[in-house]
């Protein structure tokens, strides 16, 4: 009897067709309002888009350069967020040290800070006369403000916390005894981290990286304050869009649509992947 239940429970229960009707009407109405709230701006853009000469507008403007810069910079900042964010998440989740909650607040502050404030703060820290920037300049001849590297720094600053909190949550949920099991099998801490912990948090890592990437792609305030707005070096697509809104609105609509299409495509594509990739360990 018990064995039979154990084997049948692996098959997901089939949903009955009529089940959906039991959704309470007020919930349904409010959810539909929410969906239209998100859909309406798209419709607005699509409605006003200069479809006829869209492609020539795109070709002739700086939009393609800005798109290229946006994609390159956002991918770099995603990479930096992963490389530094995963160890940070690990530290926050597992290490016990005094003032951990203060460190966590500090590391996720840029998520709630207005990005412009973040950009100003970065400028006074890493600018040529900045607190740390003057030494970067003097010793290593590195100047970050108003460079492409500066764009990556600004984007990483606002994007990394999204990855950190996602991955930290996953590490917290992870049963540390799996790492114990790896150690008893002869795995060093690093080997256990690579072969046991990382695969186990992979879905959260992908989700966090996508969130960070999306945040970096859309980053505006910190970028324009810290890195400025120079075509081909620091002018990302959001910056260009803002500029064109004043000078050439149809172009602004085109660049907005491009940004939207890229983000939408990646979100849809990855959603399948990161939900499909999860194999849950058996309960008990």
């Amino acid at each position: 009897m018990l064995a039979a239940m154990a084997t049948t429970s692996k098959v997901p229960p089939k949903r009955r067709r009529g089940r959906r009707r039991s959704l309470p009407l007020p919930v349904l109405v409010l959810a539909l309002v929410a969906i239209s709230f998100f859909a309406l701006p798209f419709v607005g853009l699509l409605w006003r888009a200069p479809w006829r000469d869209g492609w020539s507008l795109l070709r002739s403007s700086d939009a393609l350069d800005a798109l290229k810069l946006s994609i390159v910079c956002s991918l770099w900042s995603t990479a930096f967020s992963v490389v530094f964010g995963v160890p940070l998440a690990w530290l926050l989740a597992r290490a016990r040290f005094p003032g951990r909650s203060v460190v966590r607040a500090l590391c996720t502050l840029s998520m709630v800070l207005p990005p412009v404030v973040g950009g100003v703060a970065l400028f006074f820290a890493l600018g040529r006369r900045g607190f740390a920037g003057q030494w970067l300049d003097r010793w290593f001849d590195i100047r970050l403000p108003f460079t492409t590297a500066g764009v990556v720094v600004a984007q990483t600053f606002v994007a990394m916390p999204f990855l950190v909190i996602t991955v930290e949550g996953a590490i917290r949920q992870l049963d540390p005894r799996y790492e114990d099991a790896a150690h008893t099998l002869g795995a060093s801490r690093w080997y256990a981290f690579r072969r046991v912990t990382l695969p186990a948090i992979r879905p959260a890592l992908i989700a966090g990286a996508v969130l960070a990437w999306a945040r970096a792609l859309g980053e505006f305030g910190a970028t324009i304050t810290f890195a400025g707005n120079f075509p081909r070096t620091t002018q990302t697509l959001p910056l260009l869009t803002y500029l064109k809104l004043e000078s050439n609105p149809p172009e602004a609509i085109i660049t907005s649509l491009v940004l939207m299409a890229v983000s939408f495509a990646v979100l849809v594509a990855l959603r399948e992947r990161w939900l499909g990739g999860i194999v849950r360990p058996p309960a008990g």
Binding site: A6, H183, L185, V279
Partner: protein, 350 residues
């Protein structure tokens, strides 16, 4: 090869003070109630929890000795663990789970896989090599965990409740298989369990651990014959009274007396089988030397037997048939007469 462990550890509310030794070829079961410190002891032996004081050695290698600042980390100990819920890596298939320990020890990939496949075949899982743990039954998962533990050729194998995660229907057959597989491993084997059936089927020797200390050790038959704690008494299904014996009079800690058969003097235990206690509606006459009146505290029913828990002065459990209870027509709270023959009371010095 011999394991000698003198473990002293304070962890939260647990105060662990356990001396344990086990030889190669021997299966020692650590039997005790939940929260007794069994799993913590296992973590100490595996190197997942350093001890505060004492010494753990395996053969002539000292694994942990705080006094000399010696501590061999888990990954460097020749010790493998089969964990309670197996802790198989969900993202790896069976063969990669088994190969994990070899790969961690830098055995080349192909060689590790080959050895892992051999282990799976040996445990009858050749057909499941490519399956992920979620696709395996509980018994199969346990065998993968065992193969994974044995593949690194440990000198000490620790099994933490290896049958607890299984349902009742498969437990018996898995237990039998486990015994066969354990017999083929020639290192030191320590089994942690709260189930005396596991200890009986799998172990040569049993160590009873209660509240962080060893309360009794020996063969299960020896322990069952002379229980020395309430827990062991319940485990083997017998009433256990602690007290003193003077001549043929046994006096419990609360001052109740029983006439016993054997003559002795000193602190002693008295073990009484529940079936040896007879219950009556009216004062019985005849040979029993121990007759007293009491009340029924409560009644447990199990299949065709009932267990009647008696109140003061002797809080014993009597066992009778359902028909016997019906004939008695007594309920919790009712007064009743009880008797035990002197020859049915098994006394031994503490």
């Amino acid at each position: 090869m011999q394991l000698v462990a003198n473990v002293r550890l304070r962890l939260g509310s647990l105060d662990l003070a356990i001396d344990l030794d086990a030889k190669a070829g021997e299966v020692v079961a650590i039997l005790g109630p939940n929260g007794a410190g069994k799993t913590t002891l296992l973590r100490c032996l595996a190197g997942l929890q350093p001890i505060d004081d004492g010494r753990i050695s395996l053969g002539d290698v000292v694994l942990d000795e705080p006094a000399t600042d010696t501590f061999v980390a888990a990954e460097h100990r020749p010790v493998s663990v089969v964990f309670q819920d197996y802790l198989l890596f969900a993202h790896l298939n069976a063969v990669d789970n088994v190969a994990f320990g070899l790969r961690a020890r830098r055995v080349p990939r192909n060689e590790a896989r080959e050895q892992a496949l051999e282990w799976l075949a040996r445990l009858g899982l050749a057909d499941h090599a490519q399956h992920r743990p979620a696709m395996l039954s509980g018994g199969q998962q346990q065998r993968v965990a065992l193969a994974r533990a044995l593949a690194t050729h440990p000198k000490l194998l620790l099994l933490d409740e290896p049958l607890a995660a299984l349902d009742a229907a498969t437990r018996t057959s898995v237990r039998r298989d486990l015994r066969d597989h354990l017999a083929r491993f020639d290192g030191v084997r320590i089994l942690i369990t709260h189930d005396p059936l596991d200890a009986y089927a799998l172990a040569d020797r049993v160590v009873i651990v209660e509240a962080g200390a060893v309360t009794q050790a020996g063969t299960l038959a020896g322990i069952a014959a002379h229980p020395r704690s309430r827990y062991v008494g319940q485990l083997v299904g017998t009433n256990l009274l602690a007290g003193t014996i003077t001549g043929t009079t046994f006096t419990t800690a609360r001052g109740a007396t029983l006439v016993v058969d054997a003559e002795a003097d000193g602190a002693a235990y008295a073990a009484i089988a529940p079936s040896a206690i007879a219950l009556y509606r009216t004062p019985p006459d005849g040979s029993p030397r121990n007759v007293w009146s009491t009340t029924i505290a409560d009644i447990d029913r199990a299949f065709d037997r009932v267990r009647v828990n008696l109140g003061e002065p002797l809080p014993l459990t009597a066992e009778l048939t359902t028909a016997g209870l019906a004939a008695l027509d007594r309920h919790p709270g009712d007064a009743i007469w009880a008797s035990i023959k002197a020859t049915e009371i098994n006394t031994y010095l503490a």
